[in-house]
């Protein structure tokens, strides 16, 4: 118990440095959980400590577990360099669709975040970068109007400040509960990227597990460079929908990062351990693009 409390205190200290306005809701959820983690893929158990020091990659099977945005930041960016943007933005339409408000509130409670994306500016190896990280733990990382708006504002910020942009996608697609407004976020974010690109902006898209539907069919597939984490599910339509449509069973590797790379739609698959260094190298190569 004492041990847990100490850990929690350390974590709070970290976030007080990380966020301009720390709040208790930002305590990552894993520190409220038990100390043993089970791999989603092989079922192997490891201590949370071992898992965290291995960047939440399963030591037995190399499965890359889903990260929270906070974990992703902790692994990637220079210490204390993150300044979050539009942290408090939340949707006004959550009360409009039956059951949406309850679901939304539960997700806020479980994740400590107000929406399925965390955006901000940080340095990575000294390179100042605009970063968005989608959160697959928050309503499957689905894109409603707030996710689209936060990402669009970040793209516009990167355009104004001449910063490179990195977006980590992890999403089941557009958020059904917000209907047509969710769909339109695909057009909005893509349009913002078109202008950012025309103005010389450099954008790295990192596809993580899972990147599907309206997110894969918009900003996720529009990177100047597209990276993917090993084993990530990447595709447009859902496996069951496709199997039903074509009336055949799909191979196990269908829509994996490795499969998508073979088909020519990602530049590189990068293991989590190499991700920070790969990003730094790419950012250094494109420094002049952001001046």
């Amino acid at each position: 118990m004492n041990h847990l409390f100490k850990k929690r205190k350390e974590q709070l200290g970290f976030f007080q440095g990380l966020l301009s306005k720390p709040k208790s809701v930002n305590i990552p959820r894993e520190f409220n959980e038990s100390a043993i983690m089970v791999c989603d893929s092989c079922g192997g158990a490891s201590s949370k400590k071992d898992m965290a020091s291995n960047l939440f990659v399963c030591p037995s099977c190399n499965y890359h577990l889903k990260l929270t945005p906070q974990q992703r930041l902790y692994q990637l960016i220079d210490e204390n360099s993150f300044r979050e943007t539009n942290r408090k933005m939340s949707s006004t339409s959550v009360a409009l669709f039956p059951g949406y408000l309850d679901k939304y509130n539960k997700n806020v409670e479980n994740t400590g975040n107000l929406e399925a994306v965390v955006c901000g500016v940080a340095t990575i190896g000294g390179n100042k970068t605009a970063i968005a990280i989608l959160d697959a733990h928050f309503m499957m990382g689905s894109m409603g109007s707030v996710v689209g708006e936060k990402i669009t504002r970040l793209i516009e910020l990167a355009d104004r400040k001449k910063l490179p942009l990195i977006i980590f996608s992890a999403s089941g697609g557009a958020r059904m509960q917000e209907g047509i407004n969710s769909l339109m976020q695909m057009a909005k974010t893509s349009a913002a990227l078109a202008h950012f690109g025309d103005n010389g902006g450099f954008y790295i898209s990192v596809l993580t597990h899972p990147t599907t539907g309206g997110v894969s069919a918009s900003f996720a597939m529009l990177g100047d460079i597209i990276l993917a984490e090993p084993g990530a599910l990447i595709g447009f339509a859902g496996r069951r929908v496709i199997e039903k449509t074509v009336n055949e069973k799909l191979p196990d590797n269908f829509q994996t990062a490795e499969f998508i790379k073979e088909k020519g739609f990602v530049d590189r698959i990068v293991a989590r351990k190499q991700l920070r260094n790969t990003l730094i190298t790419l950012l250094e190569y494109h420094k002049e693009a952001s001046i």
Binding site: S145, N181, A192, A194, M221
Partner: protein, 265 residues
Amino acid sequence: MSHLTAWDRICIARSQNRPKSRDILPKLFEDIIELYGDRCYGDDAALIGAIGRFEGMPVTILAQSKGRDLQENLACNFGMMNPEGYRKAMRLAKQAEKFHRPIITIIDTAGAFPGKGAEERGQAEAIASSLKMFATIQTPVLAIVLSEGGSGGALALSVADRIYMMENAVYSILSCEGFASILWKDETRAKEAAELMECTSIDLAKKGIIDGIITEPEGGFDHQSDEVYGQIRSIIRRELNILTKIRVKNLVQQRYEKFRAMGNV
């Protein structure tokens, strides 16, 4: 305008007898020359690509094509486009930009095709690139939702300076069956989903997503509805007259602002 439920309108929009792109194009344009293929992999019959004249003015036409019977539907994959279709659309849109032709898109699809080959050939990339390309294309784009506008597959051809909808057309994030299946794991609740989805022309006009509605006679328009074709022609005439006079740089900026404002929080 008639007061029908969303489900009633979905049924009208999907009806076999409702005019399809192949029926309406000759009523709107002259000298139509169809152009095929994406110059990359193949042709997609679910998208008609063509050059035509609208009252004398050369335009590029990109029309999603559903079949009028089973045989036609098998040929055009029930109007569900593959990546080749979006790449063909982009190719012809770039051609339109080069030769200063306005683009008119006709939307009629349940959605992009959820097939094995479609995934292998990059359906997500094709739709994403289409959204991005149309956002900054340097020529006017006018979209008309004819019957069904489903998901990213319809959106990819709707990033336009103006979007009009037939009164009985529907436009939504997903088909109501898909919506019910995702939210409630029960496809049979499609009818219930339809009423919640705010997918009719009236709903979308209220939300400011579309610029206008083309009214239809009770029960939907047909091949003899000359008044309806007259309305469509007068909208195309009026909008092309406005859009072709705007400096291209301003046009693209206004298009950005139009989509920038959608789903504001």
